[in-house]
């Protein structure tokens, strides 16, 4: 599919989210274009993860809807899922499996049929740990196992929740570089993070701010 920088990949229409009888956000609307890198900002408990889960179609908003290429994601779920890469704050990595097996599983359920895992794991600095059970790896390496699939994907929409947690400085820079390349190639990245970024400049970054609302 051809996407220019003007294409609206994902749009939120009047989203309202209520958790534990508290309104997290009310009538929130925005468009995300191809080429955007969007950071959802806000204090802890402001609803960043809830917003990402709603955008990914994992939770339903109290009201409003999310459109993928102008179609409700609940109606175009198959097309949307095929174009979405979601990395939640739970990494989806099994500690009983090796790094290689985890990556292979994650790529296979995303439908990829032909791939070599060794070069992908090398991208996230896991060379030499392919056969190690992820339960025995460090927190950062565990996280890297989950992030590895970002290096082998043709999904346009990336939704990543706190991608930099437990990742070292060099790793963060590599990730930023990857996000930037992805956006420049017509994709979009929606993320939350509390860390300052060095490669993705403030001009390049779009911010959506959520505030803690008192009732």
């Amino acid at each position: 599919m051809e996407t220019s920088q003007q294409t609206i990949l994902l749009s939120a229409k009047e989203l309202t989210c209520i958790r534990e009888e508290r309104i997290l956000f009310d009538q929130l609307s925005f468009d995300i274009h191809a080429g955007d890198i969007v950071q959802i900002e806000g204090p802890n408990g402001a609803g960043k993860t809830s917003l990402l889960r709603i955008l990914a179609g994992l939770s339903r908003p109290y009201s409003g809807n999310v459109l993928y290429l102008n179609e409700d994601i609940n109606h175009a779920r198959d097309e949307f899922n095929a174009d979405l890469l979601y990395l939640g704050h739970l990494p989806g990595v099994k500690s009983e499996l090796t790094a290689e097996e985890n990556l292979r599983f994650n790529l296979q359920i995303s439908g990829y049929t032909q791939f070599e895992t060794t070069p992908i794991l090398a991208q996230v600095n896991l060379t030499g740990f392919e056969e190690a059970l992820t339960g025995h790896l460090s927190a950062g390496q565990h996280r890297r196992t989950a992030l590895a699939r970002l290096w082998h994907t043709n999904c346009k929409i990336w939704i990543v929740d706190e991608p930099f947690t437990a990742i070292d400085k060099k790793g963060v820079e590599e990730l930023e570089q990857l996000f930037l390349e992805h956006a420049n190639n017509g994709g979009c990245v929606i993320m939350t993070t509390h860390q300052d970024m060095s490669i993705i400049t403030d001009q390049r970054l779009r911010k959506i701010r959520l505030d803690y609302q008192f009732l």
């Binding site: 179609g57 899922n81 739970l90 989806g92 499996l97 359920i109 995303s110």
Partner: protein, 228 residues
């Protein structure tokens, strides 16, 4: 980048992975089996060793123990995937969810149901089961335990998000288990009296076919509700 939706790939990926994890985590296979053996061996000690009495209660005891063992083992079916985020990835995968959950349930049945079927004749011997009943015992277990796994998985999928879903789970799925129990024990009783039991077997087989085709969709829908 080669990519496509493939039912067989989705099915085998999940099946192989779940079996691999269970083999590395052996307790998950042996616990239900041990429970099954313990319950059945305790019965003769509890009700007394008269052979007539034992052979009369044997079908019921073996089936009730198998049913409870299957229910206990089911609770963990989606728990690990839910708590480490793999379930979210499955829900967002372009591969068909019913196929993936069917693979998980079948893996679970291969690991916990099949050992029960293999050990059941030995326990029948222990309870002095009528010699004509062994065929019926094995065939009802072979047809019935997958039904238990499939129906139970719906309940598990509905309660996976709850912290203490255990009691609710039993309340939800026990009523669904009762028909299987009734027809299975009645088939074994009939076989013990040298009567035909094809009718009961046919009904259990019908339940198996019904749940095999419909349960995966119900499980998928329940998982979407639970992770909301």
């Amino acid at each position: 980048m080669e990519r496509g939706i493939s039912f067989t790939q989705a099915f085998w990926t999940l099946l192989v992975r779940d079996i691999k994890i269970a083999i590395r985590h052996r307790g998950d296979i042996f616990n239900p089996l041990l429970f099954f053996i313990l319950v059945v061996t305790l019965f003769p000690l509890g009700v007394g060793p008269e052979p007539q009495m034992l052979s009369r209660i044997a079908p019921g005891v073996i089936w009730v123990a198998a049913l409870l063992a299957s229910m206990l083992s089911l609770e963990r079916l989606f728990k690990a995937d839910y708590s480490d985020g793999t379930l979210e990835q499955m829900l967002l995968s372009p591969q068909p969810l019913p196929i993936m959950v069917l693979a998980k349930v079948i893996a679970h049945w291969l690991l916990t149901g099949v050992p029960l079927i293999i050990i059941a004749p030995l326990l029948g011997l222990l309870l002095n089961l009528e010699s004509g009943s062994y065929g019926a015992l094995i065939s009802t277990l072979a047809l019935g335990t997958p039904v238990l796994s499939l129906l139970g998985a719906i309940g598990v999928a509905l309660t996976v998000g709850l912290r203490k879903g255990g009691v609710l789970l039993s309340l939800l799925i026990l009523p669904l288990y009762i028909p299987v129990l009734i027809f299975a024990t009645s088939a074994i009783d009939a076989a013990g009296m040298n009567l035909p039991y094809d009718g009961q077997l046919a009904i259990i087989a019908a339940m198996l076919v019904g749940s095999l085709t419909l349960a995966p969709f119900a499980i998928g829908a329940s998982l979407r509700v639970s992770t909301n």
